[in-house]
């Protein structure tokens, strides 16, 4: 994958996880620099795994301070979505879900990463990953 694609995926992850464009920009920048450091330290590792690890580190730093009930989306900061797309259910899900459910859902079903890569990146078993994903899907389905 090119650098632009990797940066795009990192940006999308923090956009959906933080729902705050300013914080998402800062977090994406920090995660990108983390990724570059990890790439130097772990040269043989898969790019997707490194991206997940870098974003996971930054997310763990931000999560305790994150105020999930205050989304800040303006469409001017660099993220764009169709007008008919309703962000309400996702905002509600982001507020109610656990950090693990949020991360796994974003990586697997929004970014399209394989469950094995996500499990490796997060340091989980696939069974645990599927358990969290099933709960996430059920929650989102109930909110839609």
């Amino acid at each position: 994958m090119t650098n632009e694609q990797l940066i795009k995926e990192i940006c999308l992850f923090f956009f959906f996880s933080l729902l705050d464009e300013e914080k998402a920009f800062d977090a994406a920048q920090r995660a990108w620099f983390q990724y570059q450091d990890l790439r130097k330290k772990l040269p043989g590792t898969k790019e997707s795994v490194l991206v997940i690890q870098a974003t996971g580190r930054v997310w763990n730093e931000l999560n305790p301070k994150l105020q999930r009930w205050r989304p800040y989306l303006t469409k001017d900061a660099g993220w764009a979505w169709p007008a008919q797309l309703n962000m309400g259910p996702w905002m509600e899900f982001q507020k109610r879900s656990t950090a693990d459910e949020l991360m796994t859902t974003i990586w697997c079903y929004i970014m399209g990463y394989s469950e094995s890569d996500v499990a490796t990146g997060l340091g989980l078993s696939e069974g645990t990953l599927r358990f969290r994903l099933s709960h996430s899907i059920k929650k989102i389905g109930a909110l839609v």
């Binding site: 795009k8 900061a77 764009a80 079903y109 996430s136 989102i140 389905g141 839609v144």
Partner: protein
């Protein structure tokens, strides 16, 4: 064991059947939808789906969830955002983001910017060496202030007026050893006639009848006096007025008084002058006998003794010392005097 017992499948269930509960079926819905279940479990979930409305409802919810997540994939990232993230952030950009500078009121932003500009201007004004800049820019290098040098030699070319006076006038006296003629450097001609005229007591020209009210140019006065013997002896050029054309800052005191029996008094005056620290200032000695009735005193004296000397003179007669400008500059604290003592006419 009989063969029939061996052919019967081993049953772990008390009631000889094994059925999947709805709870388990609901928990396995995700794996079922993903196709991770084996045949028996898949059949069990499907049977529960067809029979249990709750399981069916949850299945539908999960379908909606998958569909919604699929829609969320339409969110895009603008290229400029990718470029911004790729470039390194500076300290200033981080500071502005942390302080949320963009959200500050406009008036506050303008105030801060104006303050920064004023501080820059003030710093520039303080740091810049303005005196050196002015010297370099405003004053050209070739412009220099030259102090005029006053020369004692009367034949010097510093003053045109002095040389003209020397050429044209016939001084009554001087300090020259040869002919004992008078001051050549003075720009004032006392008189063209041989007899020295009485100096006006005050510098006010209106007090004297024959003293012209105007302040004549020294050259004109000198030439006028020199050309004539026809010059009116009664006319006395104004002496005490400061000659603005005098180039130097020097001066001298000129006085004149009449005494009875000048031959007796002249040596006493000389002794007193010398006792007070007087030194001859010209070529002739102090108390030079100019004529039978006139004695000439040209000397320097310490300024501190001047008053005492003046008081001594007043015991005979007030000499009416007049201060005149002269190109010859004396050292600080030293005064130069020219005094003329004459026999009082009866």
């Amino acid at each position: 064991m009989s063969r029939e017992e061996n052919e019967k499948p081993q049953s772990y269930s008390k009631w000889n059947k094994r059925e999947m509960s709805s709870f388990v079926a609901q928990e396995l819905l995700y794996d079922y939808m993903k196709g991770f279940l084996d045949e028996s479990r898949r059949n069990a979930v499907e049977s529960d789906l067809s029979e249990n409305p709750i399981t069916k409802k949850k299945h539908q919810q999960m379908m909606k969830g998958f569909a919604y997540l699929e829609k969320l994939r339409s969110v895009e990232v603008q290229p400029f955002l990718i470029e911004q993230i790729d470039e390194p952030s500076t300290y200033l950009s981080v500071l502005l983001k942390k302080s949320q500078f963009e959200k500050w009121p406009q008036s506050l932003k303008w105030g801060i910017e104006a303050f920064v500009v004023l501080m820059g201007i003030a710093l520039f004004l303080i740091v810049t060496p303005w005196d050196k800049a002015i010297r370099l820019v405003i004053l050209p290098q070739n412009q220099q202030v030259i102090l005029a040098e006053v020369q004692k030699d009367p034949r010097s070319n510093n003053s045109v007026s002095l040389s003209d006076i020397e050429k044209n006038e016939k001084p009554q006296f001087s300090d020259d050893k040869k002919d004992g003629k008078g001051e050549a450097a003075t720009e004032v001609v006392v008189a063209s006639n041989e007899k020295p005229a009485a100096l006006p007591p005050t510098p006010q020209p209106s007090t004297e009848k024959n003293v012209p009210a105007a302040k004549p140019v020294p050259i004109a006065a000198a030439t006028g006096a020199a050309t004539g013997a026809s010059a009116d002896p009664k006319k006395q050029p104004e002496i005490s007025a400061a000659d603005k054309k005098t180039p130097s800052g020097g001066f001298l005191f000129r006085g004149q008084f009449n005494v009875t029996n000048v031959e007796m008094i002249a040596p006493k005056l000389k002794e007193k002058i010398i006792a007070l620290g007087g030194r001859k200032a010209g070529e002739v000695e102090i108390g030079w006998k100019k004529s039978d009735t006139t004695y000439y005193y040209h000397f320097t004296i310490p300024e501190a003794k001047f008053e005492e000397l003046n008081e001594y003179f007043k015991t005979y007669e007030d000499p009416h010392m007049v201060k005149e400008k002269h190109p010859r500059v004396m050292p600080d604290g030293i005064l130069r005097l020219i005094l003329t003592v004459e026999e009082k006419r009866k």
